[in-house]
Every structure is written in C-alpha cells, then in structure tokens.
C-alpha cells in the first residue's frame, strides 16, 4: 500500500474477471496491480488492456510478489479451497468469487483458515451489492413493510437479447462436477440466490427442492422449485425455469430474476437483476393501499461488481469485515448444498445435518 491504495492481484482472468476489473477504474482505496492466468498470453493481454503492472502465468509467483496486498480469486470452484489457503498463508487479503466451495468440508476449511488469519477474507457475491437489493434491504430495515413473513424468488433463463455468451473455456470446467461442483442451478448460479435470500431474511432451518437434477448441459438442476423455512419462522420459495424462446433484454447473462418480500404490513418487489426483462421500475412497494415505484438508483448489474470491489479495498484500509464473512458464506453454501441433497434424496434437509 505504498501510495495508500491496496494493490490487488487477480488470480484467474476468465470471463467474469472483466466485471471485477470495473471495481478498479475509480477506486480510491485499491488498484489492480497484477494478473495471473495459466492460459498462454491471457494475463499479459489483460494486463495491457487494464493498465496493470504485472502479469504471471503461475499464481504462485503472484502470491510470492511482496507488492501484492490482496487477491481476488476468480477460478474454477475446485480450486477455491487450496488457493485461498495458499493466499492467506502468503499474507494476502482474499476476496473469493462465489460459490465459496463445492462441499461443506471445503467451506469449513476456508472459514477456519480465514478465522485464523489476521487478513481480510470475504466471499464476493455481487447480488448483495446490487443497488436495487441494497435499497430493498434498507427499506426493510427501516420497518417499511413491518416484520418479514415470506419471500418468493423467480428466475427465468431465456434467449439473451444484447448480452454476452459464456465462452467454451468458461463452460467446459463447469460441465465437470469435479471442477464446478454439482447442480449449477443451485450451487453456481444458485449461490447468488441463497446469498440474497439469507441477506434479506436471515438463516435457513430446512429446505426442500423438487428437481430431477439433470437439465441443459452446463446448467443442470433446472427446472426446479425450492421451498424453505428460516430459523426465525419465515418461509420462502424459488422457481427456476429455462424458457428457450423467452426474450430477455440483458447486457450480461440471458437470465433475469424477480423477488417479492411480504411483511406484516406491506410488500416489496425487486423487479430485475441480471437482465431487464420486464422493463418495470427496479423496486416497488405496496403499503397502506398505495403502490410506490423507486427508480432513483443504478440498475446495471455490472455496477454491483464495482461496488463489491470498493467494499473489499475500503474494508482492508479501514480494518473492517466486508460481506460475506466466512460464517455467512458457509451458510449460503449449506443452503445450496441442502437444496441439492433434498432434490437428490427426495426429502426435507435440515441445514444442521450437513
């Protein structure tokens, strides 16, 4: 931190890294300093495109670079555990891309290593820094809809109109369960939903999922319908469907989500996230006979990555803990793995049994 800014290295420079890079354009507390990727020429070309200072083909060299203060780990899921452990041992602050890991055992090992380290560790799940969700959370905490009772989540995968395609290099490792983990709909994509549901409603007691866990290659576990009870007595459900002919306006993945949260006094809707399928105001609230729309916020999904990176480097500078800490990240993982176990075994799964 020679100039007062955290020097960040990316380990992994695949598809999603360009969204993470948005967090270092105008960041007063951090800069993108180094990039490591084993693909020939990729780290070098990213370094040039992004104005970073170092490129490595071996992440171990990046971790050995004493100028690097912090890393963002943007790798296939099976590498999350070993490289997080190495990075913390090397004395780097760590931001680990979601999903935390592909098993509870791995998640616990990561959380234990993070707890034993004096460096900042967080799992980055960008929906928690998507402004419409943050706005809804602030409204809930201000008591606008009373005490929370239920949440409903809808996700549609459609035909993207304007967004990006996942390149073969990002898809191939996801198709291998040993690398990507099981049931992408619930673990990889789904980690966003388990994160945002717990963000709004708190921890989960038990979960049930209906899905035959097959489905399109690279996105197994869809269609699905999942329901759960929170430890605080609230309930939720989550439908996921692939609609091949559904036009989804998007700059990113060809999917979108909408969420409805019911309280004792009112209801909040967050009408978009990854895409902008419905073209409605991003946040609406019903209370006391009146429907209100809120549009005074950044709705670009990509902006949630920018905010997340700022939270990371700000927290390092300020010595605070950014979302999600190890414990919270393990819980979101348990929710996802619990849903998969439920679908596979045809029974309710209590998260405590995992």
């Amino acid at each position: 931190m020679s100039n007062g800014r955290v020097k960040v290295g990316f380990i992994g420079a695949g598809t999603i890294s360009y969204l993470h890079e948005l967090g270092y354009h105008d960041n007063e507390t951090g800069e993108l300093y180094a990039i490591a990727d084993p693909a020939p020429g990729l780290a070098q070309s990213r370094k040039e495109a992004w104005g970073a200072q170092k490129a490595y083909t071996d992440y171990k060299e990046l971790l050995a670079d004493p100028t690097v203060d912090a890393v963002e780990i943007l790798l296939p899921h099976h590498l999350h555990l070993p490289i997080t452990l190495e990075a913390l041992s090397a004395g780097k602050h760590v931001s680990l891309q979601k999903p935390m890991a592909i098993s509870m055992d791995e998640g616990h090992q990561i959380a234990a290593a993070a707890a034993a380290s004096d460096k900042v560790f967080r799992v980055v799940e960008n929906y928690r820094t998507y402004e419409p969700y943050m706005r809804a959370k602030a409204m809930i905490e201000a008591g606008e809809i009373g005490d929370l009772v239920t949440i409903r989540v809808m996700m549609v995968r459609g035909k993207g109109q304007g967004g990006f395609d996942t390149p073969p290099a990002a898809q191939s490792w996801r198709d291998d369960a040993a690398l990507g983990g099981p049931a992408q709909s619930m673990l990889d994509y789904g980690y966003h939903v388990t994160s945002i549901v717990t963000y709004f409603m708190g921890s989960i007691e038990k979960v049930n999922a209906m899905s035959d866990l097959d489905g399109p290659e690279g996105f197994t576990g869809i269609p699905a319908v999942i329901s759960w009870r929170h430890t605080g007595g609230q309930y939720g459900n989550w439908n996921m469907v692939t609609a091949p002919d559904m036009m989804v306006r998007t700059k990113y993945y060809p999917l979108d989500e909408w969420i409805e949260i019911t309280g004792t006094r009112g209801i909040i809707w967050i009408n978009r996230c990854t895409g902008d399928m419905l073209g409605k105001p991003p946040v609406e609230m019903y209370r006391d006979g009146e429907m209100r729309s809120y549009s005074d916020m950044e709705t670009d999904w990509g902006d949630s990555f920018r905010v997340a990176a700022h939270n990371f480097t700000d927290a390092i500078v300020n010595g605070t803990q950014p979302d999600m800490d190890g414990e919270e990240a393990v819980h979101a993982l348990a929710f996802a793995l619990g849903a998969i176990k439920s679908a596979s075994e045809g029974r309710d799964v209590k998260l405590a049994e995992l």
Partner: protein
C-alpha cells in the same frame, strides 16, 4: 321441469349464498324458487332480499318439492356428501359448493351417486368462472407464452378494507374441524387455488408443504409454502399462503387476494387480482418478445364469477352438457389439497396416487 324456467332451490342460505343468488338475477334459464336454511333469521332475511316466496327449515322438504328442478348445496363441508346423495336420489340436478367434501372416500361416494344418476352434478368452484383466469387460460391455449412450464400462486390475507368479515354462523362451523375439515387455508380457500392451478397447467402428480401449525386454529395452515410437480413432464409449481395482519387489502369481500404467474417457453402471463383488489393494477399482464401487454377489458368483480358460474350450471342443464367441475375433476382437486395437508404432517413429498389406498381424510 315445471314451466319454461328451471326452478332452483338453495340448500343453505349463509354468507356465501349472497353471491350465488346473483346468478338468478336476470337469468334467462332459471329462477331461484326456494331456499332451505335451519336458521329462521337467515331464512326470512334472505327470502325478503331475494324475493323468494318459498322457504323451508328442513332441506328434506325442499328436496320433496316437485317444483324444484335443481339445487345449489351451500352447506358446511361435512354435509356435502349426505345432502348431495339425497338431492340426486330425489331427482334434482346438483351444484355443490366447493370444497367437494372432506375425504377421497367421500368423493368416491359422490362420484358413484352422480354416475348412477341421470341428473347433472358439478362442484362449483367460482375461480374457474372468473374472467381474468379465463383470459389467462385463453392466452395460454392460444400459444401466447409457448409451452407452460412454471406456475407461481400466492394467496395473501390481510386487513380487509371495505369488505366482509365472516358472520358468527360461518365462523362457528368453520372453527369446528368435524364440520369444516380444518386446515382451511388449504382445504377450503385452497380448493380454489388447487382448482386454478389445474385449470391453467393440468393435473398434479405430487405435492410438498412446509408450514407451521397454529395450535387449534382451524384456519391454519399459514404461512405455508406448497410446491408441486404436474403430471405433464417438467412442469413445476409453487403456492404461497401468507397472512399479513397489518396489510391493507381493498376488497368488497374477504380480506385477501390472490395472484398467479405462469411462465412458458416464450412468455409469461400474470393474473394480478381475484377476490380482492390489493394491487390496483390491470387484472391480466402478458410478457412476450420484449413487449408487456396489459388487459383490462373484462369484468374483474369477484362477484361476477359467482354470477357466471351459476349461469353455467343452469345453462348446462338446459343444454344437456357438463360444466366444470365434473365429479372426477373435483376429486382430483380435492386430492391435491389433501396431499398438501398430509405432506405438512408427514414432512415429505406426497404423491396423489398414494392417497387412494389409505382412505386419507383431512
């Protein structure tokens, strides 16, 4: 049939009968000829309100009246089976208010009785005559959303403003599980929801419920999260039942509302209101190909569904056709509800087929 018009008798003239009576205002096929109710105050008030001359304290006398062609049975649920059988045996056409009855065994007895009769029998579930649901079904049938894949339903009850509360009589029998069957959010109101799910997406194969039992409250279970698999392939559904005690619900009737979303391969259709008008938005919305369309040119009054549903009954008698719900379909709806209730107590997904051999009751 006597005269040019069908003569219909109501067996039971309680709270909901006020909406059933709307079918006989300016009905070209039928008149409301007689009512039976054991409560003298109800009887006299309804007779005056509806201009009905003939009243009976005992429904058996109404069934013995040769002037009566058809009856609407609007009674506590435990009476649905015996009174339906007596009415069919007396040669009357029968419209039986939902829910069909309390168990699959009772449903089978009703099916047997209606099969043995030459008279028309149907269960009256008015959501299937509610114009926004009819439009949603039409849009689906016309292929507007492609092949339907996902159904999401919500039933929310709050603090009704402008509408009804249950009368003391309606509340008393509903609070007694022996009369009502209990679990009313799923068996009683839920019968509407189960019916509409099947109307829009087809039959249901298995169901799972997460809920909390509210002690002895017969109106439980709520909140509840019910999920289900349709018989047709990969179709899945969810159904939320939630109570929000401080949530204001604009309504002319009960203090609740329902909304439904069906997602297909190409589009999404929403029905944004039913028994209340909580949201104050157009009743039907369709998304497809980047365009959202709103439909408002329809009768959205919940009362209109009773009027139209009642008229479907009398017209079908004249035309010799079978209106919704026939006995088999009505039993399938009941099985969906009973499986949802059983799932909550057994803590597992229940296949509707497994209810058959076990004589499960609510």
């Amino acid at each position: 049939m006597a005269g040019t018009n069908l003569r219909v008798g109501f067996i039971g003239a309680g709270q909901i009968a006020a909406l059933h009576a709307l079918a006989y205002v300016d009905n070209p096929d039928a008149v409301l000829h007689a009512i039976a109710d054991r409560d003298p105050d109800t009887r006299s008030a309804r007779a005056a309100e509806w201009g009905v001359d003939k009243t009976y304290s005992d429904y058996r006398d109404l069934l013995a009246d040769p002037d009566i062609d058809a009856v609407e049975i609007i009674l506590p649920h435990h009476l649905h089976l015996p009174v339906t059988r007596e009415a069919l045996a007396a040669g009357k056409h029968v419209s039986l208010q939902k829910p069909m009855c309390l168990s699959l065994d009772e449903a089978d007895q009703i099916i047997t009785a209606s099969s043995a009769s030459t008279r028309l029998f149907r269960v009256f579930e008015n959501f299937r005559s509610y114009e926004p649901f009819l439009l949603a079904r039409k849009l689906i049938d016309e292929g507007e959303i492609g092949d339907p894949l996902s159904l999401r339903m919500k039933n929310i009850s709050g603090r009704g403003v402008g509408g009804w509360t249950h009368t003391p009589i309606a509340r008393a029998w509903r609070s007694d599980s022996a009369q009502s069957g209990g679990h009313l959010s799923i068996l009683d109101h839920g019968y509407h929801m189960a019916s509409i799910a099947m109307y829009l997406m087809g039959h249901v194969e298995s169901v799972h419920t997460l809920s909390t039992r509210n002690g002895g409250d017969a109106f439980a279970l709520a909140p509840a999260m019910i999920t289900f698999r349709f018989a047709d392939g990969d179709r899945l559904g969810s159904w939320e039942i939630v109570r929000a005690p401080d949530l204001l619900v604009r309504t002319e009737y009960y203090g609740g509302d329902e909304w439904v979303e069906v997602t297909g391969t190409r589009g999404v259709v929403w029905v944004n209101r039913c028994s209340g008008d909580l949201l104050g938005v157009p009743p039907v919305t369709l998304y497809r190909d980047g365009v959202t369309r709103q439909f408002s040119d329809m009768d959205t009054g919940w009362d209109a569904s009773f009027r139209d549903g009642g008229r479907e009954f009398t017209k079908a008698i004249i035309d010799g056709t079978q209106p919704d719900l026939d006995a088999t379909e009505a039993k399938a709806v009941l099985a969906f509800c009973l499986a949802a209730i059983k799932s909550e107590s057994d803590h597992r997904e229940i296949s509707l087929g497994e209810l058959e051999s076990k004589g499960v009751t609510g």
